[in-house]
């Protein structure tokens, strides 16, 4: 599976949080609280692993091993988008 989508957006992350972990969060709120720890949104380690797995399958490539250890939405998006856009 190849893809033209290179950036994971805040909207996409919010949708993934819902789908993979059952966490409902408004994308605008996620944008506003982008440095808030995932735990405060109710997202745990397994949920983040589910999101990582989903993104890996969507983009057909592995993400950095640190992806599931990211503490906040910003850290996660920075790492993931860095990897996806550089093709690392």
């Amino acid at each position: 599976m190849t893809t033209d989508v290179t950036e994971v957006t805040v909207e996409e992350l919010a949708a993934l949080m819902k789908k993979a972990a059952g966490v409902t969060v408004d994308p605008q709120e996620l944008e506003r609280r982008v440095d808030t720890p995932f735990g405060e949104f109710g997202l745990d380690s397994l949920g983040l692993l589910g999101i990582v797995g989903e993104l890996e399958n969507r983009h057909g490539r592995a993400l950095p091993t640190d992806a599931e250890r990211c503490k906040s939405p910003r850290a996660f998006l920075d790492l993931v988008n860095g990897a996806l856009t550089t093709g690392a």
């Binding site: 993979a20 059952g22 949920g47 589910g50 797995g53």
Partner: protein, 415 residues
């Protein structure tokens, strides 16, 4: 004995998710009226199986009851258990914060089929798409311990937590396990069993049980104690109880709905129904002994009612063996013929029916069963009013377990 049995454990909360009712009162109303909700199986992917009739839980909306973060990581059997646990705690007037210490509340469940639907979905991803498509929740949703773990986490209960992964009789064993934990000093235990075996692959797995009814007519599919007995009908759902130390319940002015008075379990071999006579009789004697209860004190029996002629005969004879002449006189009932057997959940639902029967002074009938061909007083057609102080609940499992539990009527609401 050491006096560390099940005696003096109060039942203070009941929670039900059953094919005939999504709460304990609706369940009781249906049971009392002798309604049958057995029907052709409609679950997607099951319609072609030779398992035709089942007791399906209908109209259950987990999203209205349980947070989505719990729902995504759990199977239906855990959804049922979480909902029933909530109801039981509410009935008991307990919230997680009401405990003196998180360690004073334990959780015990019995499980006989696990998270089959969730597991099938993940197996399909693995074999249909590849291992990378298996999600992170498979490791915690399919296994038998899921419901105990999730109830404990959701409610913050850190007391002794256990799981009896068992055949049907394990439902009674779990209640005894909880009552014994109370005797060892745990104040409250949330205990129950709920099953969800009506998924396509789970259905296929059950087809191997020689006792499974494959009759297509819901009115004829599950008729224990009759000459037309042709096996049992599986069901989903179950019940959760709150049990607690009787003194503690009195201190907090709780409504003690019943007490768990005695239990015993035996084993006589898978599908060895002739031998279950001896096994069940031995279990009944053990439970009466622990309860300090004479056979004549038993006012009603909730039968296992397997629905196999040999098994039904064994159960009728076991009652006579263990209770003497009283065994043929005591009223016997099997409400499960109207809802099916939800494996470990079935005896829990019988406990709930027994508690409510004692409270209301009504023995519920055995739906759809007439023309009894055994020497027992099976209550049929309509409820029978009776003063009920003590109930005996029986259960046998397809893998050979027999269990008996004695319940005493509670003192009722605190004055």
């Amino acid at each position: 004995m050491s006096g560390r049995g099940t005696r003096h454990t109060a039942v203070t909360g009941l929670g039900v998710v059953a094919p005939n009712g999504l709460d304990a009162d609706t369940y009781w109303k249906s049971v009392k009226e002798g309604a049958s909700v057995l029907d052709r199986i409609t679950r997607e992917g099951c319609e072609h199986l030779p398992l035709r009739v089942a007791g399906e839980v209908r109209g259950f909306d987990p999203s209205a009851l349980i947070e989505e973060t719990f729902l995504v990581q759990t199977d239906k059997f855990t959804h049922f258990a979480l909902a029933a646990a909530d109801a039981a705690l509410q009935d008991a007037g307990l919230s997680s914060s009401a405990a003196d210490s998180p360690y004073s509340v334990g959780v015990v469940t019995a499980a006989g089929s696990g998270g089959g639907e969730f597991g099938q979905r993940e197996l399909q991803k693995l074999w249909g798409q590849g291992s990378r498509f298996v999600g992170p929740y498979q490791s915690i949703a399919w296994f038998y311990a899921a419901s105990t773990g999730q109830i404990s986490i959701r409610k913050g209960f850190k007391g002794p937590c256990g799981v009896v992964a068992s055949d049907e009789a394990g439902g009674l064993d779990a209640v005894a396990h909880a009552a014994r934990a109370v005797h060892r000093g745990t104040e409250v235990v949330v205990v129950g069993a709920a099953e969800a075996p009506l998924a396509p692959y789970s259905g296929v797995c059950q087809l191997g049980y020689p006792e499974l009814s494959t009759e297509a007519d819901p009115d004829r599919a599950y008729r224990p104690f009759t000459a037309a007995a042709c096996g049992f009908v599986p069901a989903e759902g179950g019940a959760v109880l709150v049990v607690e130390d009787l003194e503690r319940a009195r201190r907090r002015d709780a409504f003690v709905r019943a007490t768990v008075a005695g239990h015993a379990a035996t084993f006589t071999g898978a599908s060895r129904w002739d031998r279950s006579r001896e096994g069940l009789a031995h279990a009944i004697r053990g439970a009466l002994d622990e309860a300090g209860c004479a056979p004549e004190e038993i006012d009603v029996v909730f039968a296992d009612a397997m629905g196999i002629p040999e098994a039904d005969r064994a159960e009728a004879l076991a009652l006579a063996d263990a209770l003497g002449p009283h065994g043929t006189r005591v009223p016997v009932t099997a409400p499960k013929t109207g809802i099916g057997r939800s494996y470990c959940g079935a005896p829990l639902l019988d406990i709930v029916a027994a508690v409510q029967a004692m409270e209301h002074g009504q023995i519920p009938p055995t739906p759809g069963v007439f023309d009894i061909c055994h020497d027992i007083d099976l209550v049929t057609a309509r409820p029978r009013p009776a003063e009920l102080r003590t109930a005996l609940v029986l259960s046998r499992g397809l893998m050979g377990s027999n269990a008996a539990l004695v319940l005493r009527r509670g003192p009722g609401p605190a004055r």
